[in-house]
């Protein structure tokens, strides 16, 4: 195979990258020579992969994540690893152990998270496309805050093999780019069944965007325009939806009653899974050394206290509590039932409509350090987590500005109808170009 090298020395004013590959090899293929940034929770053989955590400082995976293998196979040049909230736990990228990423639209504000580094690398024109991961909005939120496009694919459509797990049952790797076309192109490369990920489906993506929403019925859930949503943001999104109607779609208002459980169900599920996923970081097989002279619990506690940031430790402990004896039924079981309710609500609505649209985030990007209380931070995920709980595809596409900051239009679709979601976003994007 012919191998070339791409020189990559970006002026990273936003702290978007944790690792830069100044000489990035690439081969032939659909993405030949294309600079692609990869979120730092996706394993890259021979390139340090830290999840923006001190506990993985110096860890160099001996294997590629499946999506990275696919990127390389398509000829892409992997030019670096992007900053994120530690292990994906956050909505601002301020929870990185290696400093926050700044929003290219306003460096006094956060880029959103947790894929903030990927979003800033794309929005700051350092790369054309990037991979992010979305557990509860981590692709769509920074896409909305930075004014780019980001897709959370249907659960099971993209392999998670090599994605350092935060919440396995919720998260998906997805494409981020400046245009819907770019996002679609990257999706073509990364989607499909992987024999190393038992939760993937044989549903490859070979679609080219078609700017057409004629005859489509779009559901507008009242919960997406209710309490907690900035009226100015809601206004911009409503205007965007009117634009879709002008393009031939019809709209109908709908309701997702299970939304009142969604955020709690999401946080219980993701913290439970995280508490187990992150237990392996003990300083024995990788990461900073555990003191082998001490007893194992003592040594682990030291390593994990020094290696994990406060939000990670908070979530590990929340999940540990929710799974502990006596509380499992109250938290974990109920969260799973609530999740079924969310799925059922979406199934019911999707039997009447083709797509659901609303804002991606309730507000524009926060100022740095604006959100300090964990619960109020969690609440800002309310509009993105339902798609993760239901496993449905959801995209965020820029749809205007409030106070000079970008606003994202979120479009959700039926499971495995990522193509239709892409087409609607493309139709909108082309119409407002």
């Amino acid at each position: 195979m012919e191998v070339n090298e791409l020189s990559f020395e970006p002026n990273d004013r936003y702290n978007a990258f944790l690792t830069v590959c100044k000489k990035a090899p690439y081969g032939k293929g659909k993405l030949s020579g294309m600079a692609i940034a990869v979120k730092d929770n996706i394993s890259t053989k021979g390139i340090e992969t830290t999840c923006a955590s001190k506990i993985l400082k110096g860890y160099v995976p001996p294997y590629d994540a499946h999506v990275v293998e696919l990127l390389r196979h398509a000829g892409a040049a992997i030019v670096g690893k992007t900053n994120m909230d530690e292990f994906g736990m956050g909505t601002t990228t301020e929870n990185s152990a290696f400093g926050p990423t700044l929003n290219p639209c306003d460096t006094g504000r956060v880029p959103g998270g947790s894929s903030g580094g990927s979003a800033a690398a794309v929005a700051g024109n350092m790369v054309k496309m990037a991979l992010g991961t979305d557990t509860g909005g981590s692709i769509r939120c920074p896409a909305a805050f930075c004014g780019i496009v980001g897709l959370k694919p249907t659960y099971g459509r993209v392999s998670r093999y090599g994605l350092i797990a935060y919440a396995n049952s919720l998260e998906q790797i997805g494409p981020m780019g400046r245009t819907v076309n770019d996002v679609s192109t990257l999706m073509q490369v990364i989607a499909g069944k992987d024999r190393h990920d038992s939760t993937t489906y044989d549903r490859p993506y070979s679609h080219t965007p078609v700017a057409d929403v004629k005859g489509l019925k779009i559901g507008i859930p009242e919960e997406y325009f209710g309490e907690g949503v900035d009226p100015k943001v809601a206004g911009v999104v409503k205007t965007a939806i009117i634009r879709l109607k002008e393009l031939g779609a019809t709209t109908v208002s709908c309701s997702i009653p299970s939304m009142k459980f969604a955020l709690a169900a999401y946080y219980v599920t993701c913290t439970c899974e995280a508490s187990s996923n992150l237990a392996r970081f003990d300083g024995v097989r990788y990461g900073p050394a555990a003191d082998t002279k001490k007893s194992w619990h003592e040594a682990y506690r030291e390593v994990r206290k020094a290696g994990f940031g406060p939000e990670v430790r908070r979530r590990i402990m929340l999940g540990t509590f929710a799974l502990s004896s006596g509380y499992y039924g109250k938290y974990y079981t109920k969260a799973q039932v609530a999740r079924e309710n969310v799925k059922a609500d979406f199934a019911r609505i999707f039997s009447e409509v083709d797509l659901i649209a609303g804002p991606t985030m309730p507000t524009i990007a926060f100022k740095l350090k604006e959100k300090s209380d964990p619960l109020s931070m969690y609440l800002s995920d309310i509009l993105t987590v339902p798609a993760n709980l239901a496993g449905i595809p959801a995209i965020s596409v820029p749809c205007g500005k409030v106070n000079g900051m970008p606003v994202g239009l979120q479009i959700m679709g039926r499971p495995f109808e990522d193509e239709r979601v892409i087409d609607a976003a493309y139709a909108y994007e082309q119409a407002v170009k």
């Binding site: 024999r195 001490k294 194992w296 682990y300 430790r313 109920k334 999740r339």
Partner: protein
């Protein structure tokens, strides 16, 4: 309502070190978050159903393991091909 003692116990279960200053903050934050989680008490039922993707398995075929230097490369301490770990006795 969780107490500081509860939080200490959870930290122990999770093998997470915690200092006394954090204990107060964490306990306070936990109670706020757990109060919010109480909305789940309103969820009816306690079973879920499996819909699709069952019996996902691979054939029993041997594939190459990692070379040992790759296995040990990331381990902070090793000895004679073993990975060194804290004592358990």
């Amino acid at each position: 309502m969780v107490t500081e003692k509860d939080v200490e116990h959870i930290a122990e279960l999770a093998d997470i070190g915690i200092n006394s200053g954090e204990l107060v903050t964490f306990t306070h934050q936990f109670n706020a978050i757990l109060d919010y989680f109480d909305v789940l008490d309103q969820v009816k039922g306690d079973t879920t159903v499996t819909r699709d993707l069952t019996n996902i398995m691979r054939e029993d075929i041997v594939e190459p393991s990692l070379p040992r230097d790759e296995v040990l490369k990331n381990a902070p301490a090793q000895e004679d091909g073993f990975i060194k770990a804290p004592r358990v006795m």
